[in-house]
Structure formats: C-alpha cells, structure tokens
Amino acid sequence: TPELGNWAEGLIFYHMDLYGSKERFDIFPEEPSGQADRSRGNSRKEPALSSEKIQHSQEAGYDLEKEVAELAKMYGLDEDKEKELALLGGHLETVERRWPPAHTQKAGSQGSELPGEASQDEDQSKAIAEDDAESHMWSREGLSSGGMSDERSSQAVSEEEETADVFCSTCKTPIRAFDKLFGEHRDHEVAQLSNAVESEKEEIHKNMCKLEEQIAQVENFASHLEEIFITVEENFGRQEQNFEVHYNDAVQVLAQKYEEQLEALGEEKRRKLEALYGQLVSCGEHLDTCKELTDTTQELYLENDKANFMKAAVTVVDRLEEFLKKEVDLELSTLPEFEERIIDFSEVEQLMNSINTIPAPCAPVINPQAPNAATGTSLRVCWGLFSDDTVECYQLCYKPVSNERHGDEQAEHVLKVKETYCTITNLLPNTQYEFWVSALNASGISPPSERAVYVTAPSPPIIKSKKIRSCENAALVCWESRDINPVDSYMVELSKLTDEENDDTITESIVGIPNCEVLIHLQPIQSYRICVRALNLGGSSERSEPVLIHTTGTYFCLNEDTAHPLLAILDDGFTIACDELENLECDLPVYDNSFTRCIGILGSLIPFPGKHYWEVEAEEDTEYRIGVAFENTPRHGYLGANNSSWCMRHIITPSRHKYEFLHSGMTPDIRITIPPTRIGVLLDYENYRLSFFNADIAQHLYTFNSHFQHYVHPCFALETPGILQIRTGIAAPPWTALP
C-alpha cells in the first residue's frame, strides 16, 4: 500500500529529523546532545542484537507509544493523530526489530534507565506529536536534507509493513503470522494486530483521563495554596502590628513606673538625710553649750576672791542646773533603711494580658435599606464593621418610628445577632422602623451605630371586583389599599391563562401606577389572571387576591348606588327586579345618586373606545327601558326623556306591543312584529352608534346615530313589576356588524 508506505517513510524521516534537531536536547544538560547523537549513531552501526535486547527495546518502545499518545492528547491532537501515532508505534517497533531506533537501542545498550533518558524520550515524543501535523513537510525536508536519512531504514519499513499482522502479547511486539508459526514466538500468546491496537488505545485513553484529572486536581490545589499564602501573610502581618502596639504600650508603662519609683526613692533619701543632718547640727550645738559651761566653771574655780566667787557661782550654778535639766536626745530620728514599697504591676499585667485578648469593638455601620429587603411583615437589616475588630455578636435595637412627639414612645426591641444581618418578623406592613446596632465582644460593647430607618412592604391591595370593567381589548381594574400610610405606587401583574397547567407565568407587568386604577390593554378572546401589588421603598407587597378577566366581550357591573329604591338586584348581581309599584312614598333608603322616578339603575361606565355588546333578557310582557346614559343623566327623570340618555322602551298598549327608541323624549314610529325577549345592545363609540337587536333572530331593530361626547353607562329600568337579566361578557355576534 503506497499510502502506508508514504506514512512509514514520513514517520521514519520525521523521527530521524527529530534526532538531528539539536536544540531539542539543550534543555537536558545532564544528557548532552552530543552523547545522544553518538549513541544513536552507534546503534545504527550495530544492527545485530540479542533477543533479550530486542525485548528490552520493545518495552521501551511501548512506553514511548503510550507517552506519545498521552502527550498528543494533552497538546490537543485529535483522534486521527492518535491513529497515526498508533501506526507510528507499530512502525517504530517494526523498524526496531531490525534497526531499533537510537533511543530504544540506547536503553538496551546502556542497560539502565537514566532519569534523563525517560524525559528525553518524552520530549522526543512530544516533539513528534507537536509537529505531527507537519509531518509530510518535515519528512520531505528530512528526505532532501537527508542528514540522518538512511535508505536502508525506509526500505526495511516497506518490507516489514506487509508482514506484521499479529501481536505477540508475551513479547509485546507485533510480529508476522509467519513468526508465530515457525519463529521464536511459536509458544507465545498472540492477538490480531488490530485488536491489540484497539485495546492499547483504550488503555491509553484511560490513562490520559486519569492524567487530566490529576492536572485539574493539582491546579486546584496550587491555587488554593496561593490563597492560603496570601491569608498567612495577612494574618501574620496583622498580628505583628498587634504585638508592636501592645508591647510598646507595655514598655511605656514600665518606663513610667520606673521613673515614678526612682523619684519616690530619691525623695525618701533626701528626707532621711535632711533629718540626720538636722540631728547632727543640734548635737554640735549641744556640745558647744557644754563646752562653754565647762569653761565658765573652770574660770570660776580660778577666782580667789570669795565674794566674787560666790557672786559668780550663783549664776553659774543656775545656768548649769537649767542646762542639765534639759534631756539630751540621743535617739536616731530616722532609720537608714528605705521604706518598703508595693510596686503595682497590675496595669502592666493587664497590658501584657491584652496582647492576646482584644479591644472592645468600634461602632458598626448600619446599611440603608436594600431593595427587596422587606415584606409586609418582615425586614432584613444589614450592617457592617469597618475595623478588624473581633466581634462576638451584635446587639440590634429597633422601634417603630412614631410621628407623635409627645410621650407614647414605642418600646424598643433588642436582639442579639451573630451575623451582620437579621430578618425581623412580626412587623406591621407599610410602617417605618428605626434600627441601630452595637458590636459586642469579651472586652465590651461598642457605641451604637447611626440610626437607620427601614420601611416594611405594604399589604397586598384589594381588587374591587365590583368595579372591574373589561372588553375585548382592555380592562379597567380598580383596587384599594389596605394600609393607612400611603404607598409609592402599584404594580399590576397579568398572566394569560392557557389550556396548559402552568398558569403562574406572568406575561406582563405594569409598574409605576400612581393611582388605584389602571387601564390594561389585552388581547381578545383570552383569559387573564390579574393581581396587584403595592410598592414602597421597602419593596412590593404580596400579590392581591387575583381576579379573572375574560376578554370575550364587554363586561361591566351594576352601580348599586344608582338603583331606584324599588329596584332589587338579585344575588347574581346582574338580575334586576321590581316587585310592586306601591308604596313609592314609603321610607326606602334613597342614595344621593339613585334614580327617584324611573325604576332604573346604571351600569358602570364603559371607558373603552370601540364596540361593546351586551344583552338583556326579559319576558315578552315585561315593560322596560334599556340603553345608555351619561353619568349625570337626571335621576329624577325618565331614561330617554332627556338628551343625556338613549333607550329602547317597551310598553304594552291595549292593541299591541309598542316599542319606542327614545332620546330627548322623541321616538321614531317603528312597529316590530316579534316582541324580543333577548335584546342585544351594541354600543359603538367609534361609529357613533347605539343599536338594538332582537338577539334571538339576529334582527336589527333600531340604531341611534349619536356622537357621544363622553363615555356612557349602560342603563336599565322597569316600567312595571318584572325582571330583567343582564348578560355581559358576550362576544358581539357577527350579525351586529351591520344593522
């Protein structure tokens, strides 16, 4: 196979070229390149080898092969290279059988495994692997420059190529099948060469994985060591500083003590010496006096004149007597020893002790409130310590901020906390709390931090379900806050309900709503779950109870406060009834906003442009007025009787059902042959229309063409006792598109 031959050629020359490239050995000074070259040269000149040597070299070759593969992997060479390397291994060994390459030969001839040799092999293999991609080029260069190229070796390869097809497991070498039968491998265990290659590859791969793991482990460990290194430096530096400070203090204190002691000692010495000196002086004076008396007495003895003698003797005797009367003080006024002094080492002792203890910490710094750190009933307060002080725990104090100056001070709460944060629960919603914190350790308590004001999140609002209005494209949602304190804004969350179960996906959020009302644009014929959250600095409240909105049609409720006293709204909220027309004058409660004459009621305002459809069901003989009216339509008048309302009226005359379409008290003259029992009302703001239909038979009855200057309310009234059922949330039927 010429291709294989080429490979073999390439690899061989490549091999040679590697050995020729001297710089590769420069990094191994213990194995001078010259020597390597020489040994290689020698090996090539000694083709004859003993079988023992061959075995040796084969083992070395095997190792080489493994290493090559590992290194190839390491250097990012892919599977193809691996195959080539396996081939290389095979070829190498084939070659080795006759002309073992220098390195294996060297191992064999030298008979010892120098540590340098292994690494050299490795390096060579590495070089092989690195340059493998260029192998062809290299091989050609090698061929042309041909420093080490040997025709014989290439010849040999091509010869061996065709024959090695079995692997001898005993000798760990590929052999020809022929050898198995007749050669030295006759009794050896053999395997197909390809199988052997596969299992070798597997082994190699395993080892490479292990190696990779080790690399990762060691790298991790090294980086860990680096961290520790830094930590050690930091810790010890800090401790050095600590020692310096404390020992300086102690030395200063000792020096001071020494000064004090010396001073006291000198003072005592001076006092003692002064006392002794004083005594000495008085002794001298005493002696002088004695001497003078003796002299005077002796002079007296010398006096011959008796009278003179006696005269003088009297005074002398008096003086002597007086002098001798005085006692001579011969006691020492002071002792030579110095006084015993108690030296107070307690301060020093404390200082010395404190070297290994710690000072009381500095005041911690309390953080301002972080976003999302609050719920309606809890707050997460955080603080920090700027010094390196050791802290055993913190003392966190808080109380609600009260606006009232006078008394009634709220009780403080105190908590011991180990961490630099704390979540306080059982708080009131949307309320401000003041927090301050001190740090404690064995040495004492720090001053308190500044006070920080945190605020709890608001309570979830309550959606006013009776005020919700919706149509195909929009909804108006109103709610009220449960908190006394005002909140910053509200947020509405919509989730479009699908048939699938995951209903909780919020499809849209509307934030920054200042009022308790929002108009939301929606898609037609969908169901939405809508929740509201209140927001303040502390965060957002929990979600309100959700409301469901279906955008199948226009939905509104009835404004109970507009209902005439005789008009009852049944439990479903959409059925109105009037039982009797009597006792109109009785004491039924009348709201300011309610109809007083027409037994009517308004629905809530329909504040969306576009078309709106609803239906009213009535018995055939029910007398009613249904239509729309402005908010301010007179409550004391009849619907349709003024220019602020438009309505269809049904009454029964003795001869027939009479239908009127009233606005400003005027009606066209219209006869309808089938009394509708389900009246469809289509309000079309855009086309300035208000149409009435017999919904059962899709019959158009009448259309007001009126440009409504304002949004209108649906209105309903009973002329006589009866019941009207209002149906909302109905898609406008297609036949309402045209009259």
Binding site: R671, I672, I674, W735, L738
Partner: protein, 325 residues
Amino acid sequence: MRLTTPASAMAAPGGGAEGRRCPLGAAPSPARSAAGPRRSSETMALKQVSSNKCFEGFQKVFEHDSTELKCKMKFGIYLPPKAETGKCPVLYWLSGLTCTEQNFITKAGFQQAAAEHGLIVVAPDTSPRGCNIEGEDESWDFGTGAGFYVDATEEPWKTNYRMYSYIKDELPKLINANFPTDPERMSIFGHSMGGHGALILALKNPGKYKSVSAFAPICNPIQCQWGKKALGGYLGSDASKWEAYDATQLVKSYPDSHLDILIDQGKDDQFLSAGQLLPDNFIAACTERKIPVVFRLQQGYDHSYFFIATFINDHIKHHAKYLNA
C-alpha cells in the same frame, strides 16, 4: 296617452317624477332607444346598452330576448369593484308602477353602498314592453309598466305578462350565467308594486332569498284598488286566485320565520292614506304568524325616490348583513 290619466298628473305612483316614456332628463345613461355602446357581451343572449363607471364599479344596462316574456327586456346591473376579483351576491330590486330599469339606477343612489358591501344589484324593468297587446298602454297602473310580478292567466296577457316567473327563474339564470355571482346568495327588495313583488317572491319561495325589504310596499293588493284592478286583469275575476300573490295572505301560510323583513314607509305617502298600501294588515299578519318585521313609519316622507334615496343605505346594509354573513 297615459299622460292624460289623472294619477300621473300628480306624481307617478312609481315615484318617478317623469312618465315612463319621458326622456330621462339628467340621467347619465344613454337613452334606451338610442344606439348605445354595443360591445359584445359575455354571451350571445346579452346586449350591453350602456356602461358607466360608478364608485369604482360599473353601472350597466343590458338588453336580452326574454323567453318568459317573449319580448326584449332591459335590466340595469351594478357590478361592484369586488366583482372584478370574486363572486358577489346578487340583490334584486323591483321597481314600482310606471318605472323602467332606469328609475332606480339613476335616482336611488344605491351604488356607493353596493360598492362598499360588494353587492351586485340587478334592477329589471317592471313589465314586458312592445308586445302589441290591446290596451297595454291604456293606463299607468295596468299593462306596460305595471306587470305586478304575477304570471298572468288571462288572455291576452298570459303569453307575455309572466313577470313572476321572469324574476324568479329566467333573470337569475341569465345573471348567474353572465356575471360573477354566487347563485346561493341572493336577496330581493323593491318599492311600492316592486315592494309587493319582493314580498311575494320571498314569501312564495322560502329559502330562495336570504332577506327581503321594501319601501312603501303594496302589502295587501287584494284589498286595494291597484291590486284589485291588476290581479283581476291578469288572473281573472276569481278573487281566491289572487291570494297567491298577496303578501298578507302569503304570510299566513309562510312555513317558518327565517326571514328578516325590513319595511320603510313614508308617513306622508299619499298612497298610504289612500289605502293602496295597507301595511297594517301585513304587520298584523306577521305579528300573528311571528314573522320578523321591522316596520318604520318615517315622519314626513312621501312615496318618491327622495324617500327611497334617504333610506336606501339602511336597506343595502340589511341585505348585506345576510348576503355577506
């Protein structure tokens, strides 16, 4: 000549201010007798008399040889712009006494609404013409211009005066064969005698027309002078045979209520007060039989095309609602 008849001295009952033989004044279409543009039409049977672009569509007049009526007949047809690209429903208009195919297409102003709703509107003539029947031109309310949309059974009318069958069968067949129509969707309306025609065609052929409407229709011809004269003339003196062409009578046997009837009536219509139209009888019958009717008595309006033009849009919409449903 008919100009001597007292009725036409006031106003033609068909609402036309001019007599049927009068020139059409400012009417945009060429005179019927003149040699109009004679482009060969889609089929051999049709001859285009005129074509005028109107609201992006075309108002055309065609002439053809009617097999039913055994004479040349003209009809007006409005093709909305939509007809150029797709099939459109057809709305048939039946005119009143003395009218030709011209009155409606020149005076009612329906084209804009028809263009908007994509309706083909066909307005046939009101009777066979030029059949040389003795007495056909003697009065304005019988004979020429007064076919009354019945199939005559009496001599000498019974050969030609088959307007009922012409409107019911031949004309739709012709229209469907020559124009882009949807044969399944057709409606009918008319004025006065044409209102009567529209009502009886709808009531006699349940399901054939999607909807029906009328302006000041003759609702109960067996009870009024016009009706008695025409029905007696065409059908013979046996009044019981007339009932088959009386809307009020037909309602009583109409099988279902799937017909939405819109009727506009001018309150100041002299024929209303003259007892020719009798809508109350029709409404009473419909109320009795639960046939849905909205009857609008329009304050101050008379029997003319001014009245029709005022409410034509409502009627076009009424039909469009069912034709385009």
